[in-house]
Amino acid sequence: MSSDESQSSGQTLQTRSGRRTRSSEATGNSLASGDRAGAGLDRGFAGLARFAGIGILIILAFVAFFLVYNSWGAIYHDQDGQADSASFHIGEFISHAWPLVIGTLIVSVIALLIAAPVAIGVALYISHYAPPRASRSIGYVIDLLAAIPSVVYGAWGMTFLAPQLVPLYNWLNEYLGWIPIFGGSPSPTGRTIITAGVVLSVMVLPIITSVCREIFIQTPKLHEEAALALGATRWEMITMTVLPFARGGIISGIMLGLGRALGETMAVVLVLSSGPIAWSIIQSGRHDTIPSNIASNFPESREGSVHWHELIAIGLVLFVITLLVNMLARWIVSRHKEFSGAN
């Protein structure tokens, strides 16, 4: 290095650290740095991230507060028409709420029972069986399913799918009618809770599929090859490495699907001809779900009336159910952390 060069590099060092020296004059420590060019941006971004993180909590708190505050009127209110007779009506609310809770759970469970195995199968086909070009187009079609608005699904379920399923319900009733859930007189229109479940299963399919596909693809090649080298067939390789690795992801995907199924409103409103709860799931004019019940009744209820409070309160129940489902999913995912492959 020539002396010229060493001198000039020494100078740049000085100018660059010039700002730093100013701020460290007080302490005399040249390492105590003041502001750097990136620091403003850095702090700005940290603030933005913090704001976003806290913001989501605040929104959730507001919703929860709104629900809890307005639910009170559902269990503590006046007798009809009689002022100054406010009292608790918990039993009344529960008898109103439980059929809706059961209906919501039935429809979601039906949807998941159908959607989860299909979604896992489709995701496995895309990630491990299909040739690359086919898997891309299948993935695209699946994602497209998610883009269809729920009202369209509802219309399809009501006018096309429901009549198609009538023969199946008749068959179930004839041969399996001794099981209570297939008893009674089967629906002539097909607008039953099981049809609603089938429509919902199509709606939750894309979300479960895409979550599973992402996880399946991430299975380490190393582990897949280890299984193959032991003499595993492709299916054995999948059960030995891919599925255990993806266990948490599959559960998350199913829970995301469940979240959508629990809250789905429009498709159920259109497909299901609602009514009181019954054992049979192949009768129409039976069952109702929380969201569809709220959607159907909310516009006609007067704000502040007991009915209005009841609808809010049943909304709170759905909120709590969804919360519990999510907590359960997290617990299941974390239970086997030691064996998850993350370590």
Binding site: P131, P132, P220, L222, H223, E224, E225, A226, A227, L228, A229, L230, G231, A232, T233, E236, M240, T241, P244, F245, R247, H336, E338, F339, S340, G341, N343
Partner: protein
């Protein structure tokens, strides 16, 4: 138990690309054979053709003959799954199944055959395999803990135990020590010299001292340039390859002049 391997004019392709050209080699049963050569010369590719593992990449295919004793590995109607139960493989990085315990890892290959076994039989298999891999004393008190909790060298020996448990005829090792520290490497090398009493072992290594230490015969692979196919340049006794090679490229490689 152990079997010999014979390759006759073996060409390996990835699609239209000729990766390894014209390999002729005879690997004797119950011996250790090392493949050495610079990176990208096709030694790993060739190793993976020995148990059809290269087929996991789409478009990979082979021309020529590859015999396990007298049976053609690439004969029509041969299922790669059958080949792999007879020709086991240990990989560059230790890869125990993370979702399984140490015990389950050892039994993983065994369970694939669908064989139902009593608990005592399973215990016996686990102990024999882990003893065979010099790992028993270190893990016998924590067989139900995950295999991923072991050290790198222990994990690699667990992988060897898993391979040995299914009693293959040949064990392929693809740079089994490249991710390990010297002490663990020594443990694996000791293990190799014990395993060769029962198995035919083929090992790919970048470490020429290792090849000299563990193997009886050595094959040197080289590549003429990027995009050209890899070739087996010389195959002879290890002492000959390192002390008195007949080929000039081999001489330059083992004396450290390139690679």
């Amino acid at each position: 138990m152990s079997k010999s391997i014979t390759a006759k004019n073996l060409n390996v392709y990835y699609g239209d690309f000729l990766a390894v050209e014209g390999v002729n080699i005879e690997i004797a049963a119950k011996s250790v054979t090392a493949f050495i050569g610079p990176s990208g010369c096709g030694k790993t590719t060739f190793l993976r053709t020995l148990n059809r593992m290269h087929e996991v990449l789409p478009g990979a295919r082979v021309e020529g003959e590859l015999l396990l004793d007298d049976d053609n590995i690439y004969g029509s109607g041969v299922d790669p799954v059958t080949v792999r139960t007879m020709v086991g493989m240990v990989f560059q990085r230790p890869n125990p199944f993370p979702t399984m315990s140490i015990r389950e890892n050892v039994l993983a290959g065994y369970k694939l055959n669908g064989a139902r076994m009593s608990r005592s039989k399973a215990d016996e298999i686990v102990e024999t395999a882990l003893r065979g891999a010099n790992l028993w004393n270190e893990v016998k008190d924590r067989l139900d803990k995950p295999g991923s909790g072991l050290s790198g060298g222990q994990q690699q020996r667990l992988c060897i135990a898993r391979t040995v448990a299914v009693k293959p005829d040949v064990i392929l090792m693809d740079e089994p020590c490249s991710a390990l520290d010297p002490i663990s490497t020594l443990a694996i090398e000791d293990l190799i010299s014990e395993l060769k009493k029962e198995y035919t072992i083929v090992i790919v290594t970048h470490n020429m001292q290792q090849a000299a230490r563990v193997s009886e015969k050595t094959a040197f692979f080289n590549i003429a340039g990027t995009g050209k196919p890899g070739k087996m340049i010389e195959y002879a006794d290890t002492t000959t390859i390192f002390n008195n090679p007949s080929n000039e490229q081999t001489e330059r490689y083992v004396s450290g002049k390139f690679g």
